[in-house]
Amino acid sequence: MDIPVVWFAVVAFFWVGYLVLEGFDFGVGMLSPFVGRTDGQRQAVLRTIGPVWDGNEVWLVVAVGLPFAVFPQWYAALFSAFYLPALAVLVALVGRGVALEFRGKRDDVRWHRRCDAAVAVGSFVPAVVWGAVLGTLVQGLPVDARGTYAGGPVVVDGWPGLSGAVALLGLCAFHGAVFLALRTTGVLQVRALRTARLAGPVAVVAVVAFLAYVQLARGDVVSAVTGVGAVLAVAAALVAVWRRRDGWAFAGTALGIALTVVTVFVALFPAVVPSTLDPGWTLTVESTVASPYALRTMTVVAGILLPFVLAYQGWSYWVFRRRVVAP
């Protein structure tokens, strides 16, 4: 495999990592008003993601920063096209992050309720928008002969965007519910499991619909395999929830999100942004890739740093492995 393809895989890896990790804390955030009925219970729900959500969000910084460095034209076309979706995600993430950190800074139930609302909305919006972006990306964008984006503002573009949005929303809700079941006890755990049993079937159906579209639009043999794998993983997670195997269920939803995102990237490859104007203007891995020197530099940098990052992030999950108890 040549270096540009490896870097395409690395970018995909960071998007997978981002959506798997932040996927469960989006899920926990949007479910917090339903699973936590009292102020104290909602506090306990949010505490399950408290120590880790910020580290999870940094995966997005890398997932966005890497294409800037190694596929500059991809990055440029992507975010100038998805201007308004990116804006929605940014506003949501700013509000959500601040609400998570500020919630406990005042001893005031009204304050807590406002922060809870900001966390719920701020978790819901990015899940929907990222899903819509993935779906729309598979469909393609109006990219002109110079490789620049030549359309107007994009919001959610038709069925592809919509099916992606619903699929990621369902996956995040299921993933978050399963994570909550894994990290809580007592009444919270009971409610989290009940939510997981509701969200699970929705997630399975939504993922089947979305991946069927991806497969029909741009799929090949490999994407068919990963797509089927994604559906099986989510379905297996649902079985695990019914059988009360919390750890297996979480592994299933994590694998389900991972394979769904992988399927999108596999289906896209070797394109990074398909052009809807003329297939010949499609941005590809080869046409947008940075110079060999920049790639070599990034390979050295990432090769040295990434193992450390994975090690200490893993350690932080280990430190906070105990279940959270509601008051």
Binding site: V64, A290, Y312
Partner: protein, 478 residues
Amino acid sequence: MDVLDLARLQFGMTTVYHFLFVPLSMGLSAIVAGFQTAWLRTGDDRYLRLTRFFGGLLVVNFAVGVPTGLVQELQFGMNWSAFSVFVGEVLGVPLALEALLAFFLESTFLGLWIFGWDRLPARVHLGCMWAVAIGTQLSAYVILAANSWMQHPVGFAIDPETGRATLTDFVAVLTSEMAVVAYAHTAAASFVTAGALVAGISFWHLARRNQVGVFRIAARAACAVVLVAGIGVAVSGDMQGKVMSERQPMKMAAAEAIYETSAPASFSVFTIGTLDGREEIWSLRVPYVSSFLATGRLDGTVEGIDDVQREYVATYGPGDYLPNVPATYWNFRLMIGFGMTAVVASLAGLLLLRRWDGRGRGRRRRRSARGDRWVARAALTLPLLPLLANSAGWVFTETGRQPWLAFGLFRTADGVSPGTTASEVVVSLVAFAAVYAVLAVVEVGLLARLARKGAPPVDADADSGDGPDADAPLALSY
């Protein structure tokens, strides 16, 4: 206004806003780590209280700093996609390095620190805060290297086929003279900023005779930090001025509003005249200082705006290479003025500290009640001074670079996204302005509440109301 003006306004607004929080986080994390280290070494509970107290403020500050930084990263693609394509691999590599090296470090270890009080051994827990402090400094270094590249591009070549900048020497980008002095200047300024916040809050409590024993320690430490860092700011600023005069003579000329090349050149502290500084009615001038700032010699030549304009036309072709001279001239003065006032105020603070040394007699204490009110008022304004200086500094250095995005290579006007419409930029500008305004109110209100409460007593953890919960974090819970 067209897309270009709107996009510039948006970038300026979001950058200055982001940079209100960044230097505080940089300096404060090190100060908190310092207090915690002092606590581990002495076992003195007052240091623990200071660690918890200022650690709480740090967390609030961090919560706004991180997501507003993400806004900056996405804006390159949203508003400046033409520039992103041109420069992506040169600026993108340091940005990616920042995320991998520093962002993960800061956010992961801050989470471990906040929730790890009773989960981690004391030394490991302290190490988490040091990791945060180091992470913020690494972040600043790498970002300033990227910014310095835009001020003075090095380590690149222009691809003859695509016309884009390609990276040829990453080490040169990271170690350019410009990057080193810019980092030194910013790092020193971050300690002035955080020190002024700690000193301001401490003197406010001291003036109200509140937790005098605890806040005396903090006030003395913070004043010392501001003084030492203030010297660092001055020295590094002086070095930066010389590099700037060499690499960006127009910026130096605009900073002084000197139109004709002069040797020796005087420094105008304050000028009344036409706004662009072409004609002056009256000015307060210090002879030789501009020459010294620019060249290090008292009689050194400072190039004037008109001569530099002629030079640039000869080098880069016809065009107007003047930045906004009044904005550059006045922000340069505001930066120096606010910064110096903060340092002088901290020196006064060190002298004032004897007021609360506990040895004062009753009569002396009564007499000083009126003085205390003044101390309290001055203390509230102290943290604002470095923040204003930092903002003015950024506005100065970025407006002074105009009309270039990457100096000598790429004009600002060519950088905007071709597909982006003015309405998109207006929508996002309004959205960010609204969110940032709300955030500012919430953040300042929260910081003020926390600051007013003072340092919590060491056994305050029991009041978090979480019951017998092994996972309940202590003073900094949700």
